[in-house]
Symmetry: C2
Subunit: 481 residues, 2 copies
């Protein structure tokens, strides 16, 4: 079989030569045999190239005579246009959302290099993805015949929603009906649907400070007024909530991101009462509650809510893979219809096969066994990380948020906030990836944070050996100061 | 292993009994052994049930004595709440987008029943999905180790974008750089991203009349003024385009949906000139151009565009499966950055594994062989459908849009538009699914359409035998008039 790559390459050479005038209109081309031998490609490749160029209007063929350059060439402006340079003509208009989105400075998605030890939060270990089990069940799901292939309903596969209902009850004590669950493309889409349906330009959005950047940037793109609320070791400080009506509060009560506190029951009740009084929505992002170590889980806000204020978000990004883009919403009854409609308008539905695989994993008990296994692995990693920090890092280091989750926060008391970029660059130079906590605070907000350099250190993506080695090397980078 | 289903069931029985007062606070429960025997479940099931109820706060256990109902029960209001009844308290606020979305009447996604013959447009045959090939390549892609699992870049897998660049050139004569391509969750997400970034409340959106409902409803939810423009056998009638600045035009030039005309080259040039003059955006939805029968493809608008007006949308819904939710955008250079940012805010990126499978299918040549095979199958189905219509349906029937695609339009000249619901119901009663063209016209627009009943008949989801049988039965339903 001919290589497609070489066809494209040879076509491109011809187009360039023709546009540059090296081959002029009417000029005869080599025979396919001669050209194949010249270029060291198969003759069938050349035949395909000529056919392609004929279909594009670059060359002409007639029976019995050699191909020649067309007398009537395609528009050169198009072919010559450097593809990524903005067009000089007057700019067309973006929507207000488009202009805000365009003005935002989003973090570039980092790529982890093979030999690097990267304490990137949100990464999980490749060996923690249950590949063999996934493959087996995926293959079964794939081979099931359907009467025909058509779009599915926007709320997601009934099989998965039914299994999730049971899972949420067992794992989180969360009781809901299957109808309240909508399957989405990861927690990010859950946040985005909430933002579109509940937030508009000028809306008040209240967020923990510091917080998850992907949520804050989304609300900012919607044009909301995002206000930071301080957190302490009991979570969001509810007495700082302003008395605004129709606001939206985004919280991470089971494991405050990134600082790690668990919201106390009394704060939870306080928040719910405040939301009911002010007719506000609460987003409860339960992004990593599967990973608690030796702690009894606290009841979710959703379970305590009797007023229909709480929208609960769950994800498979931490328990299976962030690349699957699968998560779910548990909605108050009155929001079910509008979220289904929005999901249908947005992308019709979440892809089907993966949903069926997860449903089957939960149904067989394999999903919960998998979580227990990965939880134990991460508990070990956490212990190794804390031990290594105590052993290698300087004394004046404070570690925060170690009780649960897949990351911790490390405060380097001998360093200023301004030292962070330098520290990160020095670590990077010796193959260590570390990540500053600063972007997770609102721009310019230095009141609510510790007055020293801070790192968010994810450990789920590394092995215990890598963690130990990584911290030891990090200590070198720090001591270079 | 214990069955999860029975744990849930037994837990629910206890909760109900406790809330109903049949078991009162402090009351001792049966021993696990006794209860297991009473209920006919394993003892380990009962142990799990009790553990679950303890964690939820319904019961208490103390070492050496029997479990008893908690003195301090969880909030009954929550547990008793009928889950889908709206909460009587004052409603919380939706955004303007939310209110518009809530007010829209979206079509319910139909489910095709096993024995039914359904001429549903958008459905494709289950046997046309290349299952074995997909499975083989998916399994290879799945087993590839990564240094760790992390989110991917918003624009989609480089492998797929690179292969699509070559594919678009070969199949559509469309020349673009890899950077201009963004992988999305099906054409619907492509449309949604365009709507969010280019349309705002009050924006002018011009659409073919009739048109694809999923696009029109999306623009309406955004608050746009959607105006219908008549189409004829040459496609959109460009002389009817108003001179509005900064508008957006949504067109299906390679196969007008649903009427089936191909936009002529002169109309294409006219549209592009109009867009450049008025600084308007054009969405070119190339939803089924893979299925042309014996026709030379007309150049895409994207290929003719030298002003950066055209946003091209392609999909894998018709060539592989609508349930995969995979499609792509080819963007003008100046829109690349803002679309990437919006995609990142929306759902971070399209799921990775399926993208790698399609990249490999294209790279090996299998994808294009697959399309040729399915094209031949659909060509046969189309011929069978047209023949059956000529044979079985009454004389006064006009068939439109047969040159390409996966559906045709059938006008029943002996029936009024008002007869459609009755006709559909009669067909349904004898196991035939047919679909009216009326929803694809703007509400109340009767000027631009034929003054008789019309059907959009999809055939890709059926076998030739089913098509013949279906049309014969449809003739019965029609003759019952």
């Amino acid at each position: 079989m001919q290589k497609i790559g070489s066809v494209q390459r040879v076509c491109e050479i011809f187009r360039l030569k023709i546009h540059a005038g090296e081959l002029s209109p009417g000029e005869k081309l080599s025979s396919t045999r001669a050209l194949a031998s010249d270029l060291g490609v198969s003759r069938s490749t050349v035949v395909t190239v000529y056919e392609q160029l004929v279909s594009e209007g670059y060359i002409e063929t007639a029976h019995g005579s050699r191909a020649r350059v067309s007398l009537n060439l395609p528009h050169p402006a198009k072919a010559h246009r450097p593809s990524l340079k903005p067009i000089p003509s007057e700019q067309r208009k973006l929507s207000a959302y488009g202009r805000r989105t365009s003005a935002l400075k989003l973090p570039v998605t980092p790529e982890i290099k093979p030999r690097e030890i990267n304490f990137l939060y949100g990464a999980i270990a490749d060996e923690d993805f249950p590949r063999l089990m996934w493959r087996k069940i995926y293959n079964q799901a794939l081979m099931k015949r359907q009467s025909s292939l058509y779009y599915a309903a926007p709320e997601g596969a009934a099989e998965l929603r039914s299994e999730l209902q049971g899972y949420l009850l067992r794992a989180r004590g969360l009781s809901c009906s299957q109808e309240q669950i909508i399957i989405v493309q990861g927690a990010q889409q859950a946040i985005d649907l909430c933002a579109r349906l509940l937030v508009e330009p000028g809306s008040e959005v209240l967020m923990e400070e510091p917080c998850y950047l992907g949520a804050r940037l989304n609300f900012e793109a919607m044009g909301a007024n995002v206000s930071p609320i301080t957190v302490d070791e009991q979570g969001l400080m509810c007495d700082q909530l302003p008395n605004v009506k129709n606001a939206l509060v985004y919280v991470t009560p089971s494991h405050q991101f990134p600082l790690g506190s668990v919201m106390s029951i009394s704060r939870r009740r306080e928040l719910l009462a405040w939301a009911a009084r002010n007719r506000c929505w609460i987003i409860e992002d339960d992004y990593d509650s599967e990973f608690r170590y030796g702690l009894k889980p606290v009841q979710t806000l959703q379970s305590l809510d009797v007023d229909g204020s709480v929208i609960y978000i769950g994800t498979f990004s931490k328990t299976l893979s962030p690349q699957l883009r699968l998560g779910y919403l548990v909605l108050p009854a009155e929001l079910v219809k509008v979220f289904r409609q929005a999901k249908q308008l947005t992308d019709r539905h979440t892809p089907s096969p993966d949903q069926l695989v997860i449903a089957q994993l939960i149904q067989s008990g394999a999903y919960e066994r998998h979580i227990r296994r990965v939880r134990r692995a991460n508990e070990t990693k956490r212990a190794v990380l804390i031990e290594a920090i105590q052993k290698f890092l300087p004394k004046r280091v404070e570690v925060e948020g170690t009780a649960s989750g897949l990351h911790i926060v490390v405060w380097l008391e001998d360093f200023q906030i301004e030292d962070e970029p330098n520290l990160i660059a020095r670590a990077k130079a010796i193959g260590i990836g570390i990540w500053s906590i600063t972007p997770l605070y609102s721009a310019g907000d230095k009141l609510r944070r510790k007055k020293c350099a801070g790192l968010v250190m994810g450990y789920a993506g590394l092995t215990p050996t890598e963690i130990k080695k990584g911290v030891a090397r990090l200590a070198q980078a720090i001591q270079q100061n």
